[in-house]
C-alpha cells in the first residue's frame, strides 16, 4: 500500500521535473517572446501540478495535505493568469510574433504601442 503510493509519488515528481526541464529548454531555445511564454507557461502549470500531487501522495498528515491542495488551487489560478498578463503586456508594448525567418508575420489593428 504505502510502497505503491510512494511509487506513484515518485513517478509524479519525475514527470513534474521533466516537464519543468522541457519548459526551461523551450524558454531558452524558442524564437520569439510568445513561443517562450507558451513553453514555460503551459508546462509550468502542469509541472507544478504534478510535483504538488507527488508531494501530496507522500505526506500522511492532514494539515500539510490541505495546504498542498490550497497551493495547487492557487497555482492553477495564478500561473495561467500570469502568462496571460505577460503576453498581453507584451502585445500592448508592441512585441510581435516572428516566423522562422525572424520576420514579423502578424500585423493586427493596434500597431501603435
Amino acid at each position: 500500500m504505502s510502497t505503491l503510493w510512494l511509487w506513484a509519488s515518485d513517478a509524479c515528481l519525475l514527470i513534474g521535473s521533466f516537464l519543468l526541464l522541457t519548459g526551461a529548454l523551450g524558454f531558452l531555445r524558442f524564437p520569439d517572446f510568445y513561443a517562450r511564454i507558451h513553453a514555460c507557461g503551459v508546462t509550468e502549470t502542469l509541472a507544478t501540478g504534478f510535483v504538488l500531487l507527488g508531494l501530496l501522495l507522500r505526506s500522511d498528515d492532514a494539515m500539510p495535505q490541505v495546504k498542498l491542495v490550497l497551493i495547487l488551487l492557487f497555482v492553477l489560478f495564478s500561473s495561467p493568469t500570469a502568462s496571460h498578463a505577460l503576453a498581453k503586456a507584451a502585445w500592448n508594448a508592441g512585441v510581435r510574433p516572428r516566423d522562422n525567418s525572424g520576420k514579423r508575420r502578424v500585423s493586427l489593428p493596434h500597431t501603435d504601442p
Binding site: 492557487f74 489560478f77 495564478s78 493568469t81 496571460h84 498578463a85 498581453k88
Partner: protein, 322 residues
Amino acid sequence: MLCLLVATAIALIAVRGLLASIMLTSVYGLLSASFFVTMDAVDVAFTEAAVGAGVSPLLLLLTVAIVGRREAASNARRLVVPLLLVTVTGALLIIGTLDMPSFGSPDAPAQTHVAPRYLQQSGDEIGIPNVVTSVLASYRAYDTLGEVLVIFTAGVAVLLALAPAGQGGSARAEPPAPEHLAPHTILQVVSKLLIPFMLLFAFYVQFHGEYGPGGGFQAGVIFASGIILYGLLYGLPTVCRVIPPPVVEVLAAVGALIYGLTGVLSLLAGKNFLDYSALAADPVTGQHIGIIAIELGVGIAVAAVIITIYYAFAGRLHTRED
C-alpha cells in the same frame, strides 16, 4: 544553492539595464529564502520571500517605472578603487572566518551560551512552540519594537520625501490617471477571486505565528501585497477610495503605539517595560496576551507602512504622467 546565489550575483554585475537587474534581485531574494529553509530558518525564509522576492522588487519596479530603465555604461577607470576596496574587505573577512567555529558545529559558542535557554525553557516560560516567536516577541521584544519603529521611520521618511504639497502630508492619489489598465478583464476577475484569500491568509499568518512560521511582520507584508495587487489592477484612485491614505497613515502610528502601549501597560502594572507577565495573574497567560497584542501592533504597522509607501510611489508615477 549557494552557487546559484553566486551566479545570480555575478549576473547582476554583468547585466546592464535596470529591469533585468530587478528580476535578478527578485531571484536572489527567492534563492536566499530557499537557502534559509535549508538552514532551518523558516521564519526568516518566509520573511525574505515576502520582502526580498516581493516587496523590494515591487518598489524597485515602481521606481524604475518613474525614472526609466536605462543604465549608463560604467567607467572602466573607476573600477580600480572599488576593486581594491572590495579585495581588501573580502580578504579581511576571509581572515576573519579562519578562526571561526566550524559550520554547523553544535559546540560553537553561539550554540552553547545563550541560545540553549531559549530552546529549553521558553516552553515553560512563554508557553508557545515557535521559539523564534518567543525570542522575537518576548525575550528580545525591545528589538522588535525597534524594528517596528524602523519601518515606521521608513514610512515617515518616504512620505517626507514624496508627499505632494497641499494635502496635509498624506500621499493622496491624483485625479484619475489615464486608465490604460482597463481592458485587463481576466486579471481583474482572477484577482477578485484571489485577493480575499490573500487577506485571509494574512490573518492566518498573523495568528498562527505562535505555532508555526509567521507572525505580525509576515502577515503585514502579505496583507499589504493583497492591497497593492488590488491597486495595480484597479488603479490607484480606486484603492485609495477603498482604503484612504490618511487612514493608513494613522494606522501605521496606531500599530506602533499598540506595541508601545502594551509595554507601558506592564510598566504601569509595576513590572519592567514589555514584561508581559504583568498582564495577567498567571505569567504564562500574560505572555500569551502580550505576544498577541504586540504581534497585532506589528502587523498593523507593517501593513500600513508598506501600503503608505506604495501609495507614495504610485502617486508619483501618476503625477509624472500628467
